[in-house]
Symmetry: C2
Subunit: 464 residues, 2 copies
Amino acid sequence: MSTQHQAIARCREFLADHQIAMGEAINIRHYTDWSNYKHIQPFAVVFPKTTEQVSKILAICNELKQPIVPQGGMTGVAGAGIAEANEIVIALDKMNQIEEIDPYASTMTVEAGLTLEEAQNAARAADLYFPVDVGGRGSCQIGGNIATNAGGLSVIRYGMMRDHVLGMEVVLADGRVLNLMNKMIKNNAGYDLKQNFIGAEGTLGIVTRAVLKLSPQPKELTTCLCAFPDYLSAVKLLRHLQKRLTTPNAFEVMWDEYYQLSLSWMQNHANPLSQHYPIYAVFDVEGSAEDLENILAELFETGEILDAVIAQTQAQAHQLWLIRETVPAEISSTGRPLCFDVSMPIGQLGEFKAICQDRIAKQYPQLASLFFGHIGDSNMHIILDLKDQEEQVIDDLIHGLDEIVYDVVRQFKGSISAEHGIGLLKRDYLHYSVDENALNVMKQLKQLFDPNGILNPHKVFKSI
Amino acid sequence: MSTQHQAIARCREFLADHQIAMGEAINIRHYTDWSNYKHIQPFAVVFPKTTEQVSKILAICNELKQPIVPQGGMTGVAGAGIAEANEIVIALDKMNQIEEIDPYASTMTVEAGLTLEEAQNAARAADLYFPVDVGGRGSCQIGGNIATNAGGLSVIRYGMMRDHVLGMEVVLADGRVLNLMNKMIKNNAGYDLKQNFIGAEGTLGIVTRAVLKLSPQPKELTTCLCAFPDYLSAVKLLRHLQKRLTTPNAFEVMWDEYYQLSLSWMQNHANPLSQHYPIYAVFDVEGSAEDLENILAELFETGEILDAVIAQTQAQAHQLWLIRETVPAEISSTGRPLCFDVSMPIGQLGEFKAICQDRIAKQYPQLASLFFGHIGDSNMHIILDLKDQEEQVIDDLIHGLDEIVYDVVRQFKGSISAEHGIGLLKRDYLHYSVDENALNVMKQLKQLFDPNGILNPHKVFKSI
C-alpha cells in the first residue's frame, strides 16, 4: 500500500468521513491558486477540526514520510499551495472560529482557517480595525496570510502581517504543538520562535491559531491624485506628508503608460487632471483637505508637483482609485496577465523602472510593460498582458521576462519577492536575492524543523 | 596551553596589540552590567575593527571550543553580557561607523558598535528620527539593542527594536558571515533569518552591521497628567486617545504609593493635582491641547477621569515627567533597587498588581513594592528598595520575591521578561513563560547555530 493510502487509512481512525475528500470529491479549488500555474488533483484533502487532529495527521505523515501541503484560501500567486498528485492537502477550513476579542489588549484570537474578511468584519464590529488587506480577502485565510507574510496597500501605514501577529499556535512536522499564544506587545522571554513560521510558506510548520493585534479604526481619509515631473518628486511628496501630516493609509504610484491605459479602459471617465504627466500618485491620508492643500501648494511652487486633484466626494475618491485599479483588473479578466512583485531601496525604483522597461522593450518590442506600485514600501509591480502571444512561445517568453526582471533586481540588490512569496514560481531565482550562506542557513532550518521533508516539499527552495 | 591562551595567540596574528586587552589592562566596564549582578574580570577582551576580523575570531574560538561573550555598552540588567574568568569578550567598540543615511529609503546603515545616542543624533541631523530610546542611550550600542530587542518608553508609538531593523550582517559561531543587509520594507524572499538574532542575547550569532528604519521627526507634543478611579479607566483613556487623536508617544501609569513617594522626593514640588487618587497616567501626545481637553472632558463626565492637568510650558511638562522618573532614579542612586520587568495582557495588569502586591506584603511586610509601567505595551515594572535589609538575607529575599512575582506572572500567562531579556538573572524562571516544547525548540536552534556552544554560553538557558 502506498504511503498516501496508509496515511489516509490511519487518519480515518480519528477523522469523520466528511473530513476527508478524495478523487472526484475534491473541490477544484484545491487544484491550483490564483497564479493558475498548474492544475493538479491532490491525492486527498483532509479537514481537521482541532489542533489535536492537525497534530495527529502530521505525526502520521511524518512517520510515513508522506508529503503534506497546507492550503488556505488559494489566493496566492506563487504556487506555494499547489500539491502534487501524490501529496495530501491539509485544509483548515473547519478551524475558522473567532475565539475572543479582547478590547483592553486590543487583540483578536482566531483559528487559522478564518477568512481575512471575517477577521476584518469582526474587528470592525468591536469598534477596532484589522488593517491587513489584500484582494483575496473574501477567501484567503489568516493562516495563509501568516504563512505568506501578506502585504497589500495598507503596509505603508500599518506594516505587514508579521507586524500584526502577537502570538500563534503552530504544529511542527512531527506533530509537536508549539503554544506561542502571546497577547503582549512586549515579550522578550527567550527566542521569538513565531517569527520562523511567518512568511515560511508552510514549509516549517502549520499555524493553527493566532493572536492578532488590532488597531483603532482609521479616521476620515482624504483622497488625492498628484502628478510629478519624475519619480523622486513622488518620493519627496510622501516624505513631506509623513513629516507634516501623517503617513498615508495607501500611497500608490503609476507611470504614464499605465495611467493612460487605465483611462482608456474606464468608460465615460475623463482625465481628472488637465493633461498627461510622466508619473502620478494616488493616495489616502488622514487630515483635512486644507492641510493637504497647503503641503501640495508648496511643492507646486518648487515644481515638484505639476498638478493635483483632491476628491471632494466619496464618488470622486472612488473614481481616482479606479485609475489605479483598472489595469490589473482588466488584464486579469480579459487578458493573460504576467505580474512581477519586486522590491528595492525606495530611491532606486525610478532608475530600476527605466532600465528594466528599456531591456524588456529591446528584447520584446511587441510587449508593453506597465509599472506601478506601493513605493512607500519599496515595492514595485510590473504587469504585462500576454494574450496576443502565440501559445507555443509563452513559456519561453515568461522565462525570458523573468531573466530580465530578476537580473535587474539583482543589480539593484533588490528582492525578487516583495509580498507574494517564492512558492514554486520564483524558486529558481531565490539566489538572485539571497546569498549562498543565507540560503544554506534556510536549508538548515528546514532540516531542523522538518527532517523528513514532508511539509510543503520543494516550495521556497528544493528540499534536500 | 589553555584554549583561551591558544585563541588569543592566534588572534594576535591579525589583531594589533591595542585590539587585545588582558588582565589588569581590561577596563572594569567589561566586568559587569547595570544589574551589578556579579563582577568578573574576563580572560581577555578583543576589539575587532572589521567583520572579517569578527569572522576570524569566531572561527578560531569555534575550532578551539573557546567560549566567547559579545558585549555592547553593558547597560543591560539581566547579566547577559557578563563573562566568566575563562571566557573571551568580543567588544565591537571599534566598529562604530555610520556608513550611510538614505533619505529616500529613510534608512541608516551602521556598524553594530555605534551607540544608540549617536544613531539618534545622526538621524536628527538628517531631519529624520530613530525612535528607539532607553536610559542607557549614551553607552548602549546598536548591536546590543538588537541582541536584546530593546524597548523603552516609545514602544507604544513606534514599536521595539525588532520593528526598526530592516537588515543586518551577522557572524555565525563558525565564522560564516550572513549578509542580510536589506533596505526594503517588504522582502519575502525566503525565510526572514534576521529575526532569529533579534532578542537572542548574542547566543546565536554576533551582529556586526545593521540597516535601521528611520521615521519622520515627531510633531509637537502635549504632556498631560491624569488621575483615575481604577486601572481599567486608564486603559480606557489610552484607547480613546488612540481612536480620537493618535497613539501617544509615551503613556506611563503609576499607582498612588509610587506617586506619593515621588512627590516626597521631589524638592519644592507640590502635587500638581488637587488631591491624591488611586492611579495616574502621564503621557505625551501629538495634537492640540484643545483636542485633548475635549477628550478628557468627556471621560471626566463619566467619572472615568477624576482629575487632570495639561502642561502649558516645557518646564511644566518636565515637572510632570519627573513624577514618573524620580522613584527609580532616586532608588538607583541612594538605595539598593530590585526591579522586575514583566508583561501580561493589558486588561489584567491591574488585577496582577493587586494580587502581586498583596502577596509581597504578606510575606515581606517590611518592604514597599512600587508598581508602574508602560501599560500600553502590556509592560509592568515593579521596584523595591532593599537598602535597609540585612546583607546576609538579601539573596534569600531576592529569591523569595522572584518566586512570588514570577508565580503570579505565570498565573496570568504573562512573560517574566517584557523588555530586559533573560540573560543569567531570569534563566531559572524561563519555563514560567515558555512551555516545554518551545524551550526544546529554542535549544534546537542554539544547537543548530552554535553546535559547540561557544557563543555567550548558558545565557537565556543552560546550553546543552
